[in-house]
Structure formats: structure tokens, C-alpha cells
């Protein structure tokens, strides 16, 4: 674990996202200190159901990210369908309708790379279940900036290609199950 207290968490997930996130997010306590920014691949015409879905199950605040809103601790922000989500250096969120990256909008890499710039080593990044390569390049950028990299373990994952691609590109990443990820987040959030 790095010596720098983490300030934020970014998560990327695709196929199998709901199962993994349903373990992690509801486990976080009401006084969870860190903000979480989350990209889940969804068909573009799907209206934003994720935030609502998790709101009901979670003790932390869960919302769909809005353009230029300040990042608050203890809040999970989902990227809206069909927009990229980025974090600015001043810890505000930005949306963008740039072209899809690796067929994805929102793109995990886009979120991760901007978060690496904004938080440097004080960032935890997690690549969950998925059947593509998104997030691998971004995870490496975060690890290179001194952040903490985590990928979901293959066992029990709905789709393993995405966490495996991320692990291959970023060998220093820890491999954890969703339960272990939840426990890890709770532990580091407790640190001052």
C-alpha cells in the first residue's frame, strides 16, 4: 500500500458490472470518506438507470455525474450513458461527447487518464468484470503516476478479458475479489 492517503477511487466495469458493483458499493459505510467515479459500459440509448438502481441499495450517496460539479467525498458518481466522464485538476467533473474510444462512450481509459492527472498517487483504480480491453491503458497510467491499481480476480467474474488485459498491461495491479475490494476500500478510507 502506498504511503500517500488516497483521495479518490475510480472504477471501470463492463459485462458483469452489476454483479460486481452490487457487492462493492452497498458494502461501503455511510461515513465512507472518498469519492468514487464509475464508468460502466452501457448501450447509448439506455437511459440512466444505474444511479437510481444503486441509490436504493447503498449507504453512500449515489448520483449520475453532472457537468462541472465539484467532486464530493462519500459519493459515487456514474458516467451518464453516451458521454465521457473526466475529472479536472480542480476536482470538478466534466462530461464530453468526443468520439467513442475502443467503441466505448463512456470510456474507462478517458476517466482513468484524467483522474491520474488530477490525483496522481492519491488514487485507487479498479478494473472489474468485462469482455473488452478498455481500462488497461488507463490503469497503467495511474500505476505509473504512483496510484494503486486493482483488478477483479477471474474466479467468479462474469467476464475476465477486461481485468486480465489490465493485469497484463499493469503487472503491479493487485488481484482481488469484489468482497476483498470492498474490505480494502473500507480500510483505506478509514485512514486520515
Amino acid at each position: 500500500m502506498s504511503a500517500i492517503a488516497p483521495e479518490a477511487v475510480v472504477i471501470g466495469a463492463s459485462a458483469g458490472a452489476l454483479e460486481a458493483l452490487s457487492v462493492i458499493l452497498p458494502a461501503l459505510p455511510a461515513n465512507f470518506r472518498l469519492p468514487l467515479m464509475i464508468v460502466v459500459h452501457m448501450p447509448p440509448d439506455r437511459s440512466s438507470i444505474l444511479a437510481e438502481l444503486f441509490q436504493a441499495k447503498c449507504r453512500i450517496a449515489v448520483r449520475e455525474a453532472e457537468d462541472k460539479e465539484p467532486v464530493n467525498g462519500g459519493t459515487a458518481y456514474f458516467a451518464p450513458p453516451d458521454y465521457h466522464l473526466l475529472v479536472e485538476a480542480n476536482k470538478h467533473l466534466s462530461l464530453s461527447s468526443d468520439e467513442p474510444i475502443l467503441y466505448s462512450r463512456p470510456s474507462i481509459d478517458v476517466l482513468f487518464e484524467s483522474a491520474a492527472d488530477a490525483y496522481g498517487p492519491a488514487l485507487i483504480a479498479i478494473v472489474l468484470s468485462g469482455a473488452n480491453q478498455d481500462g488497461a491503458a488507463g490503469l497503467k497510467v495511474i500505476a505509473d503516476a504512483g496510484g494503486t491499481a486493482i483488478v477483479q480476480s477471474s474466479e467468479g467474474a462474469f467476464a475476465t478479458a477486461m481485468p486480465e488485459a489490465a493485469k497484463a498491461m499493469c503487472p503491479s495491479a493487485q488481484v482481488l475479489s469484489p468482497q476483498e475490494i470492498a474490505a480494502y476500500l473500507e480500510k483505506v478510507s478509514g485512514r486520515p
Binding site: E7, E66, D67, K68, E69, P80, Y83, L86, V87, E88, A89, N90, H92, S94, L95, S96, S97, D98, E99, V110, E113, S114, D117, A118, A122
Partner: protein
């Protein structure tokens, strides 16, 4: 965390200087755009244009006038669709048009029109509703290449399936194929659609009010701005709108965080359509 104590990264210094150079040399002002996106695009430009560093790109930008349009292409990515977010155009048709009908003549401004997708959508909608003949459309952007494309009205035929579907979902009363002819993989839109349109180079960052509008549609442009710049653009829209004029924004844009919010009321909240309050 105390950002002020952290030394500025070399890349951030380079970005700041490059944007300054771009402004001093070409009067294009990206200094207050949302930086996370600008950074991404500059990295992309540096890589694809084959420069070792952003400083090297800056040198070329200052000394080689051909570099400027190429870089501008990176900084103003053109992503658009006809009748993008069909529900927005349906709301314009069903809620805004009935008000517009009461005016003998109309002015409509499509700000950040890209290659014309949003403009043609509105012109076709106005034609279907019988308002086109009394309307003057202004289509503006800072990317001349995009403006030239908009003026030509030619789109890849492979995009027309989506445009047609969007048009239908927006409540279109005609068939989109009535408005273009297809040849060699391209759809060429009828020039009569442009007879009431003025295309011009206009920046929401550095240029001023140029007319009194009844409807301004500015979608997915202001998300690329920081908050101060958003406020500037919204101030421009406020000053450009007739009393009770309408302002339509992108699906994820709103007046919520703006200091101009008091000048507008929600008109169709879900579609981000606002109405200018009487001053």
C-alpha cells in the same frame, strides 16, 4: 490536498504556454476550456502529428501557418448527428413551435453548428411546421472546415440510417429522403434548405452579440468550457434573446451551476429548454 504547493508538471506548463501561443498568434482562445479534454486532445495531436513534445508542437504552430488548421481540428472535435436526442427536437416541435407561430418573422441561431447536422434538423423541422419561410437561421462555429461542410450539406450515406431513425423518433412529418439525393456514397442535402441560412465564423468565447433571436440552440458546446466561460456564453445568449425567447442546450448541460440562471425559466425541463424572462 494543497495543490498550490505541488510544482507544476512540465506537460501542464507546456499546455499553458501552447494555448497562450495559439491565442497570441491566431486569436483562438482555448485558455478557459475544460482542461482535462484539452489535455487529451493535445496529447493525441502531439502523437499523431509526430512531435516529441508539446513545446515542439508549439514551435511549429508559431512558425508554420499550415499547422494551425490541423491543430484546430484536434481541439474542436466534430461529433454530431441529425436530430441527435430525438426527444429534444420533439419538444421543440410540440412545445416551442406553437409559441414561435405567433411571430410574423423569426430568427434562430445554431451556435457551434459543427458540419450542420443540428442546423439541417431545425430547418427541416421548421419546414414541416410551415415556419421556414418566415425564419432567418444563423449557423456559427469557430471551425471553418466544419462551416464549409455545413454550407455544402453533404454527409456520408452510411450516417443516414441513424439520421432517418432519429428524425422519425423526433416526430418528423415527412420522410428525410425527401431532402437529399444520394450518389457515390454521399447524401447531398437540397440547397433550398440553405436559402434562409447565414453561415458565419463566430466564437462564443471572443465574439459579441449580433442579433435578436427567438430561439438559440447550442448543444454540446458548453460542456467543453470551464464554468467562467460557460457563464460568458450564457450571458451572450441572454443578451441575444428576445423577450420570452428560447434557449435549448445539450442533454447534459444546464443552467444549474450558472450565475445567469436568474434570467431564464425552465420551459421543458427534461430537454434543457429554457425561456428568457422579461428583463
Amino acid at each position: 490536498m494543497t495543490d498550490v504547493d505541488m510544482p507544476e508538471k512540465i506537460e501542464d506548463i507546456e499546455i499553458r504556454l501552447l494555448l497562450e501561443a495559439l491565442y497570441s498568434r491566431y486569436h483562438y482562445d482555448f485558455r478557459n476550456y475544460a482542461m482535462a479534454s484539452v489535455k487529451r486532445r493535445l496529447r493525441q495531436a502531439r502523437e499523431q502529428l509526430g512531435f516529441e513534445t508539446l513545446s515542439a508542437l508549439q514551435e511549429s504552430l508559431l512558425h508554420d501557418p499550415n499547422m494551425f488548421p490541423r491543430l484546430l481540428g484536434y481541439l474542436t472535435v466534430q461529433v454530431s448527428e441529425m436530430f441527435r436526442d430525438p426527444a429534444y427536437f420533439r419538444a421543440i416541435r410540440e412545445k416551442v413551435v406553437p409559441h414561435l407561430r405567433t411571430y410574423p418573422s423569426l430568427k434562430v441561431w445554431v451556435a457551434g453548428c459543427s458540419a450542420g447536422e443540428e442546423l439541417y434538423s431545425l430547418v427541416i423541422l421548421f419546414r414541416e411546421e410551415g415556419l421556414e419561410q418566415r425564419t432567418l437561421f444563423y449557423a456559427t462555429d469557430i471551425n471553418q472546415e466544419a462551416l464549409a461542410q455545413a454550407e455544402a450539406g453533404i454527409f456520408g450515406l452510411d450516417r443516414l440510417q441513424l439520421f432517418t431513425e432519429n428524425h422519425r423518433k423526433s416526430g418528423g412529418k415527412s420522410s428525410l429522403s425527401d431532402y437529399y439525393s444520394a450518389a457515390y456514397g454521399r447524401a447531398s442535402f437540397d440547397k433550398t434548405l440553405r436559402q434562409n441560412v447565414l453561415f458565419s465564423d463566430h466564437s462564443l468565447v471572443t465574439d459579441a452579440v449580433f442579433g435578436e433571436m427567438h430561439l438559440i440552440s447550442c448543444r454540446n458546446v458548453m460542456i467543453y468550457f470551464d464554468r467562467d466561460l460557460q457563464n460568458r456564453a450564457l450571458g451572450l445568449f441572454k443578451d441575444s434573446l428576445a423577450r420570452k425567447g428560447f434557449l435549448g442546450l445539450g442533454a447534459k448541460e444546464s443552467l444549474r451551476f450558472s450565475n445567469q440562471a436568474a434570467a431564464f425559466s425552465d420551459f421543458v425541463r427534461e430537454e434543457k429548454i429554457y425561456q428568457r424572462l422579461a428583463a
